[in-house]
């Protein structure tokens, strides 16, 4: 394995910034650290770069244990959130900095810098100072500076957060293309789930310093392992349910939308237990219903063009369900109308308690 991080932890006083973080990353893979503010993403990344000394655990890159090494001996390329370009050096000098430190001969250095300037579409800007560049250009210089040294691992701390929304997506995909081309192993930090899902091979969802789940975007969206992950990634409807019957590994559940039969494992789902079901808004079917027969009434419709978010207040209790429909499929659905909701068993995710 290219990168092995084992049981990494950081404790400040009695606060656990990162706890028991383990992941193995294959060559050329891009892993996103995703989580809410303060969950330990930056701390993890800075431990890999060597700026924070871990309280426990190991970081092994290409079989070399980096844990005790100072930053300048680690051969990691870090792109800082604020870019951290050297203000007194030109674009070309900024990019050449790491090559100079490695004693790369002048001729080779110049070629590599020139190639990198072309790759990152910075042609014509080589002699500018950082403050004479736009935010997007600065960001590309920061990436170029980290890439040109051929780091054994590329680390990015919220590299797109200072860019506007449009530029963010194109820059992200561009970075992804270059990272693939160069076969760079990479970890990037973000609190933007769309960015993580669009760019990363795998996503590590973090919460309170710990990893809740690591998996592909599809994995964590369709098969979230914890309630936190289900809630944090995309939108989720949670329903409380009771186990009505259990027959081997098949349970019958009663919930606000009816009865569903699901396969399960483990004792948390024995007969009589209370459990939680999760269903994504786009998996809920909605139909107009006769006033007495319907499960709930439409409270709000938020039209967003390609889709619409429909908030339905359930008749029993005061739970509100979020239903997503195509923007063109709203016939018969109006605020105040009574509706029926249906879910398919295969779209339900089951959580103990």
């Amino acid at each position: 394995m290219e990168i092995v991080i084992e049981n990494l932890a950081k404790v400040y006083g009695n606060a656990h910034a990162v706890r028991d973080f383990s992941v193995t990353i294959a060559k050329g893979e891009m892993v996103a650290l995703l989580g809410p503010s303060g969950c330990g993403k930056t701390t993890t990344l800075r431990m890999v770069a060597g700026f924070i000394k871990p309280s426990a655990g190991r970081i092994v890159v290409r079989g070399r244990d980096l844990t005790g090494l100072p930053p300048h001996k680690r051969d990691t390329g870090l792109v800082f959130q604020n870019y951290a370009l050297f203000p007194h050096l030109t674009v070309a000098e900024n990019i050449a900095f790491g090559l100079r430190r490695r004693g790369v001969p002048a001729a080779e250095r110049d070629t590599r810098v020139a190639n990198m300037i072309a790759t990152m579409q910075l042609t014509g800007l080589a002699d500018r100072l950082p403050r004479q560049l736009s935010g997007g250009q600065q960001q590309r210089v920061a990436v170029a500076r980290a890439l040109v040294i051929n780091p054994s691992i590329l680390l990015l701390d919220e590299p797109f957060s200072n860019l506007d929304a449009k530029l963010r997506e194109s820059t992200g995909l561009e970075l992804r293309r270059i990272q693939r081309e160069l076969g760079l192993t990479s970890i990037f930090v973000t609190h933007d789930q769309n960015e993580a899902m669009a760019i990363a091979d795998r996503i590590a969802v973090m919460n309170g310093g710990a990893v809740e789940q690591i998996g592909s975007a599809v994995d964590i969206y369709e098969r979230p392992r914890t309630r936190f992950v289900a809630d944090f990634i995309g939108s989720a409807n949670f329903l409380s349910a009771t186990v009505e019957a259990r027959d081997g590994n098949v349970v019958t559940l009663r919930h606000g939308l009816g009865v569903s039969v699901l396969p399960v494992e483990g004792q948390a789902f024995d007969k009589g237990r209370s459990v939680t079901l999760m269903v994504r808004p786009e998996c809920v079917a909605i139909h107009p219903a006769a006033a007495e027969a319907g499960l709930g009434t439409i409270e709000t419709i938020s039209y967003q063009g390609s889709s619409a978010h429909i908030f339905v207040k359930l008749r029993d209790g005061d739970r509100t369900m979020l239903v997503e429909r195509h923007g063109r499929e709203l016939a018969g659905l109006e605020v105040g109308k009574t509706v029926d909701l249906n879910v398919k068993a295969q779209d339900l995710t089951l959580f103990a308690a």
Binding site: A49, G50, F51, P70, P71, H72, R74, D75, T76, G77, L78, F80, N82, A84, L85, F86, P87, H88, F97, G98, R101, R102, L129, R145, A146, I149
Partner: protein
């Protein structure tokens, strides 16, 4: 905000500005211009113009010799106090230790130190211990006075320095020393130059410590001027002062060329 200088308020502002500048600059003009008069005493405006007093000043070995002494002392002082001041500012902004806040506040507050007391104390100290002689003795004393100035000028700049720049350098393979020399120092260069110029001028201009601690055989320029003024006032003394004003202006120009941020 722009102010219309033709409005009553604008006119008043313009007048006040002109008066303030005259108040600040006219004495300097007098110092430079008065020695151009041909009379044997100072008068302003000068009667008929001549360069003879300037010539006399430049030909007087006392002035030239003590100028060179001052130059030497001020140069040593500027270099030593700049190095110490920068390391101190770096330490104060980079490391956590007991009393750090106190030391920082001490250097950032207006410094009050009666030079006369310091001069007496230092001359007793040096004559008892026999440490350092001649120019080195005076330079060492000036370093005591000038280092706080350097720290005061550079501390806020070091505080504002973005530490991720040094981290970026180290991430790219620079040792901590290399990142200090190649990233931190160039970025804070304006502050360093300002501190060095200030130390230089302060040392060059200093008279009390120099009176007590300079070798009697090699006085500094301010000491020579001081004794000349005491003995009687001939315009060549004023010419020396005029030359000093010009030198200071030259220094300020150099400072602006090299201290200014690169554009």
């Amino acid at each position: 905000m722009t102010i219309d200088l033709k409005s009553p308020f604008g006119a008043l502002l313009l007048a006040l500005t002109i008066i303030a500048f005259c108040y600040l600059l006219l004495p300097i003009l007098v110092i430079v211009v008065a020695p151009l008069g041909s009379t044997g005493y100072l008068s302003f405006p000068p009667q008929s113009l001549t360069l003879k007093w300037y010539q006399a000043a430049l030909n007087d070995t006392r002035y030239v010799g003590s100028f060179l002494t001052s130059l030497k002392v001020a140069t040593i002082t500027a270099i030593v106090s700049t190095v110490i001041g920068i390391l101190a500012a770096h330490g104060l902004t980079r490391y956590e230790f007991r009393g750090r806040k106190f030391i920082e506040a001490l250097f950032l507050s207006p410094l009050i130190l009666p030079t006369l007391v310091l001069a007496v104390g230092l001359s007793i100290f040096f004559s008892r211990t026999g440490l350092l002689t001649g120019t080195a003795r005076l330079a060492a004393s000036h370093v005591i006075v000038c280092t706080p100035y350097v720290i005061r000028v550079s501390l806020p700049v070091f505080q504002r320095f973005d530490r991720t720049l040094e981290e970026a350098a180290q991430n790219l393979g620079a040792t901590p020393l290399q990142s200090f020399l190649m990233v931190l120092l160039p970025v804070v260069r304006p502050a360093i130059i300002a501190g060095a110029v200030m130390a230089f001028i302060t040392s060059f201009d200093e008279v009390v410590l120099a009176l007590f601690l300079a070798e009697p055989s090699a006085p500094t320029l301010p000491v020579t001027i001081y004794s000349a003024v005491q003995l009687g006032f001939d315009p060549s003394v004023a010419a020396v002062s005029g030359l000093l004003v010009l030198l200071t202006m030259a220094l300020m120009v150099i400072y602006h060329i090299f201290g200014a941020v690169r554009d």
